[in-house]
Symmetry: C2
Subunit: 391 residues, 2 copies
């Protein structure tokens, strides 16, 4: 089934996620950018790039403002229209959404989109602050709620509501660590056993260390062109066939439901409608698993499982690499890492290479995948995007 084509991805790059004490934000970005340019099979003269969108939270005290212009100039794109978009952990997927709209508006033919973050040189107090403000401040953060606390409350409610064992969450960690162990770009390239995952030190009950993603340095880049131009740059473009965005309260206490994210459901509904497909048409997905419970809820909010039945996909292995709907073949935020601003476009990077059959680490390639999805959440669900891709 041939889907709609709103924009074409002709190249993508990503640094290894993890510790990069030796690289500045500019250098991280430049490394991902060079890889993206190199991945454009038929070549792209960067003078043709007309606009640059970057998603970054800027938590790392990197002390550079006007960052969109600073990064563009650093790689020789001086002069182009530049935009920084910031929606917490969903920053670069909202940058991507704006970029797609820039193309659809007929203003731009060739656009660069990036995400970048440097978090590993932050104190943990500062990290706690910057992540914490993505949730509600007035009635939750200042009353002592941590970011892990948000998702712990959702996990508690989920477990209570559906009578699910905590073990299912740890099984998601095991799956994503396995996938990460096969991904040379992942921060954690180490498989873990279910026993290790279950017995890790507690973070916020019922979540422990292996239910949480790490802090990371990293950058990712996507090169977008007007669909009609794709073949000029590559024989293997990947098209964006649908997209959506939603929002919700920052505060959990104001939400009707704690076992899913409304912003995700809004975004998914729009994206499926644009693409004209249903969840069972998706061959693989990169979803926002900042905590294991987030991936569980995403199964349901994205329609891969019915409400309250996401744990069944874990039980029967559906979301493993060999399953019918592999989720987070990259290792996800959990194992690949989560450099806040870089996560959205890194999901697109992964889907792009999976659909092309060029994902690094051949053993984690999803064979014959044609249609992919990415799902990125800002904070504890106040903002979310969903993209649908087809090769």
């Amino acid at each position: 089934m041939l889907l709609a084509r709103y924009a074409a991805i002709v190249g993508a790059g990503q640094t290894k996620f993890g510790d990069h004490p030796e690289l500045s934000v500019k250098e991280l970005f430049a490394e991902a950018y060079r890889e993206a340019l190199d991945s454009v099979n038929k070549g792209l003269n960067q003078k043709e790039i007309q606009a640059f969108y970057v998603g970054t939270l800027g938590v790392g005290g990197y002390q550079i403002g006007n960052i969109s212009a600073a990064l563009a100039d650093h790689v020789g794109l001086n002069g182009v229209a530049t935009f920084r978009v910031e929606n917490a952990c969903a920053s670069s997927s909202f940058a991507l959404l704006s970029a797609v709209q820039g193309i659809l508006s007929s203003q731009y033919d060739i656009v660069l989109v990036a995400g970048v973050e440097k978090m590993r040189d932050m104190s943990s107090e500062r990290a706690k602050y910057w992540l914490g403000v993505s949730g509600d401040t007035e009635y939750e953060r200042l009353a002592g709620m941590t970011f892990a606390g948000h998702y712990a409350i959702m996990a508690t409610r989920y477990i209570h509501e559906y009578g699910v064992d905590k073990e299912y969450l740890s099984m998601i960690a095991v799956k994503n660590h396995h996938n990460g162990s096969l991904n040379p770009k992942a921060q954690f390239q180490r498989a873990v056993t279910l026993e290790e995952a279950l017995n890790a030190p507690s973070l916020a009950y019922p979540l422990n260390l292996y239910d949480a993603c790490p802090t990371s340095d990293g950058a990712s880049v996507v090169i977008l062109v007007k669909p009609e131009l794709a073949e000029r740059f590559t024989d293997t473009p990947v098209y964006i066939s649908g997209f959506g965005a939603g929002s919700d309260t920052l505060a959990l206490y104001e939400r009707e439901d704690l076992t899913g994210l409304k912003a995700t459901r809004i975004a998914a509904k729009q994206a499926y409608k644009m693409a004209g497909i249903k969840p069972n048409n998706i061959d693989l997905a990169e979803v926002h698993d900042c905590f294991t419970i987030a991936e569980m809820m995403a199964y349901e909010d994205l329609g891969f499982a019915e409400k309250g039945k996401g744990w069944m996909l874990v039980e029967d292995g559906s979301t493993q690499l060999s399953g019918c709907i592999p989720v987070n073949p990259s290792g996800g935020l959990k194992a690949k890492g989560h450099p806040i601003g870089a996560t959205g476009t890194a999901q697109t990077y992964e889907v792009f290479h999976q659909l092309r059959g060029t994902a690094e680490g051949p053993s984690r390639r999803i064979q014959e995948a044609e249609t992919g999805l990415s799902h990125n959440v800002g904070g504890s669900g106040a903002t979310a995007t969903v993209f649908i891709y087809q090769r």
Copy 2:
């Protein structure tokens, strides 16, 4: 001459700029939003708003992240697609540009755009840091360059290059203070004499206190719709007929020219081309006068005067309210105030009401104005936008 119509403005609001210790960022935004809704003559049900774009630098330590969703939810727009755009002092004009592209992409029909900033509760050290990082960090800020220093270097070069007396810069301050004295929304509603302006305490030679804009609290809001829908909401829409955006190095030492801003010239060229008009077709302009020299350079970069001859517009009074091309009838950043993120959409607010004949403070209304321009700069010229409007 009927120009192209890319989007229609059907309402706009602005808080008074200045000190608002009693209002949070959310409350400032809500006040401007309510005024914008009220200004839509035929009414607008806010349930019809599909997307929200906000420009803010977030310098004021207001401790709220995921700010686009937080603000949307605060005024009852829970669920819509939300975007925070940040390009230093040009944040909300880049938010506006993204919003126009959202409309042109056929994704949205009705969009809300805002700018907001709370700066007056910051220490001056913190303000210096947040403004400073909008210029180059590695080779200028860390070597001691201040933000006023950037513009002082440009002023020195301008004065040297064109043999102009410093008095012309102070005359711009006098003009903008005069306009501000007639604007109930301005931070400084006080006229100053040329003698006062010339003899103010020095900031960074040759610029003194009256060559600089203040720090401010404030918010501004613009309601945009698809041109075809404008008449449903108002009999007096204002259309966006052209727009452009450019970028440049953050560092001054890397620029070829210190007597103008390349980013402005790129943006202006695009905007005039889209609108199909020339600078002499513009009836009034709101330009980025963070320092008086910035307004002088804008005259030239926007084509109101030839290179090196902007001072002649000051000398002959062309840019005064009664002149042939009134500039900053609102008082500009200089007298109206400069709450960083709020400035771009506040310029649009002013042009909207001027072209409608509804600008507050009747004595500063530009009679029979049909075509307006706004020009917003990020930092010391690393990013810039230009918009052209027609009623």
